[in-house]
């Protein structure tokens, strides 16, 4: 698999990243090198092997659903880049008709 410029643009959008023209060439070459390195796995026969997804042996870990560890509105907004004391503020989402 060789990535091209269009794929990079598409992936960048999915990842919500901007890749500017100056970075694109180096990124493309790094990603292609890394992908061809990853393709070494194709040498292995994995037919009939179940994927290993969970590392924990714990099953059905339950606890009572009690309200605790609450934080105040002030604490919740403490790290916000923009807020009005009550809500997080973001750029306009809906344009005026």
């Amino acid at each position: 698999m060789k990535l091209d410029n269009d794929t990079i643009t598409k992936i960048a959008h999915l990842a919500r990243l901007d890749v500017d023209a100056s970075e694109k060439e180096a990124l493309l070459s790094d990603m292609n090198n890394i992908l061809s390195f990853m393709e070494k796995l194709n040498e292995l026969d994995t037919d009939g092997v179940e994927p290993l997804i969970y590392l924990s042996d714990e099953v059905n870990v339950f606890r009572e659903d009690v309200v605790k560890g609450e934080i105040t509105v002030k604490q919740a907004l403490e790290n916000a880049p923009s807020e009005d004391g009550k809500y997080f503020q973001v750029a306009r989402v809906i344009e005026k008709p």
């Binding site: 698999m1 990535l3 794929t7 990079i8 992936i11 960048a12 999915l14 990842a15 919500r16 990243l17 901007d18 890749v19 990124l27 790094d30 990603m31 090198n33 890394i34 992908l35 390195f37 990853m38 393709e39 070494k40 796995l41 194709n42 040498e43 292995l44 994995t46 092997v49 179940e50 994927p51 290993l52 997804i53 969970y54 590392l55 924990s56 042996d57 714990e58 870990v61 606890r63 560890g69 934080i71 604490q75 919740a76 403490e78 790290n79 916000a80 880049p81 923009s82 997080f88 973001v90 750029a91 306009r92 989402v93």
Partner: protein
């Protein structure tokens, strides 16, 4: 102040009045200042550490102090500590303040450890050289032109240079063990699920584990005993009972069966002195009557690609939360919501993090999921099964922690694949969730530390640490007998 190698030495001196806790804290704060060029700490909590020292000194007088009284600890800048900054080495969290503490931090504080500051690391724990931190690279105390390893590079240097007694780091693919090896200190990655991840910033959630970086196996065991165990805030934290690791340290009796992986020593990338260090260790153990045998592990060349596919996939998902909306950096020049996401992330993340998010997004994308991510998950099972099979016959697996000693700053930054291959000996344990420890066994002829690694059975930390202590005691005796040789002859 004399240099302490374990908490028991500190507590002994505190008890007989040879030193006071405030004096210890002052000493470390001065050391951090004097060695500021190492860039090991991102922030020092000096005033707070001093006032805690007074409080705990009083508790000590009254006989009410916890088990970690006297221990001065650094936290990798990835572990939340309420009302303290945490940036995970990233611009995107530069001004972030934790609103709660990680479970491991609460447990340290409950036993009267003093937290002296937060240590530098690769951004979001992605890196093996501490060159990916927004707060600048960290220098190895043994040789300032060399990297300290990563991602817990600041933590390893802090312990190496005597800036604190111990640190908590995190290990996803070697991030505790590899810097421990490069810096000549002890680093343990616990079994996946042994230690709670609550309050630890996520990189790759099926790998991440908090682990101690210390001068002695003794302190690693003590810290593990305190931080390990079930946590109602982390459902992947095992419910199984935590053994009294510290008191079980002297339980390593009898002769062990140890496997070493032939492929690790015939690997083309292995440094000659690292190889002779491993061979010397094998011989020393055989001389003691342990069985140490070669075992073939033909999957060695596949561990690094498998590791990177899965961790990049998990990282791309975990790091989706940094969107510039609720917390973290927000670009000043974004007119729309979508531009807020894109610009905040692009300006906030560094190059390596972006590379991994891009590749992670790709391997999870429609059409490529099965070929990359699905394939890697299958190989992950093969790696775990093969390792389990070896550990059914043997107590431990022995291998060098790293193929080379610490490399030069800047040496590998332009070639990600070469940088990733430096993880070849540490990711096997990570992929299978096995515990593994890196032990400082001596220096090479250039004076750079070398690390030897043992992988244990899952939840077999007690045996692993007890055996490690026995081995380190043996090397200590050897060096007393013949000091000129150092620990292990390489």
């Amino acid at each position: 102040m004399r240099e302490y190698n374990s908490l028991s030495e500190v507590q002994h001196d505190l008890q007989n009045g040879a030193i006071t806790l405030p004096a210890i804290v002052d000493h470390y704060i001065n050391r951090i200042k004097n060695e500021a060029h190492l860039n090991a700490f991102i922030e020092v909590f000096d005033q707070e550490a001093r006032s805690e020292a007074l409080k705990i000194a009083k508790k000590l007088e009254e006989g009410k102090a916890g088990r970690l009284a006297g221990m001065v600890v650094g936290l990798k800048d990835i572990i939340c500590y309420k009302d303290h900054g945490i940036a995970v080495g990233s611009r995107i969290l530069q001004n972030y303040k934790s609103i709660y503490s990680a479970t491991v931090v609460e447990r340290l504080i409950a036993e009267d450890a003093i937290i002296i500051g937060r240590t530098n690391c690769d951004e979001f724990a992605m890196g093996g050289s501490n060159e990916n931190s927004y707060f600048g690279h960290v220098k190895n105390f043994a040789d300032n032109s060399k990297v300290p390893g990563g991602s817990s590079g600041g933590s390893a240097v802090a312990v190496q240079a005597g800036l604190c007694l111990a640190c908590l780091g995190t290990d996803t693919g070697g991030s505790v063990r590899q810097p421990a090896a490069f810096c000549g200190v002890v680093g343990l990655k616990p079994t996946y699920g042994r230690v709670s991840r609550h309050g630890v910033v996520a990189y790759a959630s099926s790998f991440d584990q908090v682990g101690p970086i210390t001068k002695s196996v003794e302190d690693a065991a003590l810290l593990m005993e305190i931080i390990a165990g079930p946590d109602e805030y982390d459902s992947t934290a095992s419910k199984s009972k935590v053994p009294p690791y510290f008191s079980e340290l002297n339980n390593s009796t009898g002769k062990k069966h140890i496997a070493y992986l032939s492929e690790t020593l015939s690997n083309g990338g292995i440094d000659a002195e690292v190889k002779s260090m491993a061979l010397a260790a094998i011989k020393r153990l055989q001389d003691e009557g342990h069985t140490v045998e070669p075992v073939s592990f033909q999957l060695l060349d596949y561990v690094v690609p498998t590791y990177y596919i899965i961790t990049m996939a998990e990282a791309s998902s975990n790091l989706a939360r940094y969107d510039g909306i609720h917390f973290g950096y927000r670009s000043k020049t974004a007119p729309t919501l979508e531009a807020t996401y894109k610009k905040s992330r692009s300006e906030g993340f560094g190059a390596e993090v972006k590379r991994r998010i891009m590749l992670g997004t790709f391997v999870l994308s429609a059409g490529y999921y099965d070929a990359y991510y699905g394939k890697a998950q299958k190989v992950r099972r093969l790696i775990r099964e093969k390792t389990d099979e070896i550990l059914k016959k043997y107590d431990f697996i022995l291998l060098p922690t790293t193929p080379t000693p610490a490399f030069g700053i800047g040496e590998k930054v332009d070639d990600p694949v070469t940088m990733y291959l430096a993880d070849i000996f540490t990711v096997q344990a990570s992929l299978g969730g096995f515990p593994a420890i890196s032990l400082p066994v001596g220096n090479n002829t250039a004076g750079l530390p070398l690390g030897l690694q043992f992988i244990g059975k899952r939840f077999g930390e007690s045996d692993l640490m007890a055996f490690s202590k026995k081995f380190m005691d043996l090397l200590e005796q050897d060096s007393v007998k013949s000091p000129a040789k150092g620990n292990i002859v390489v």
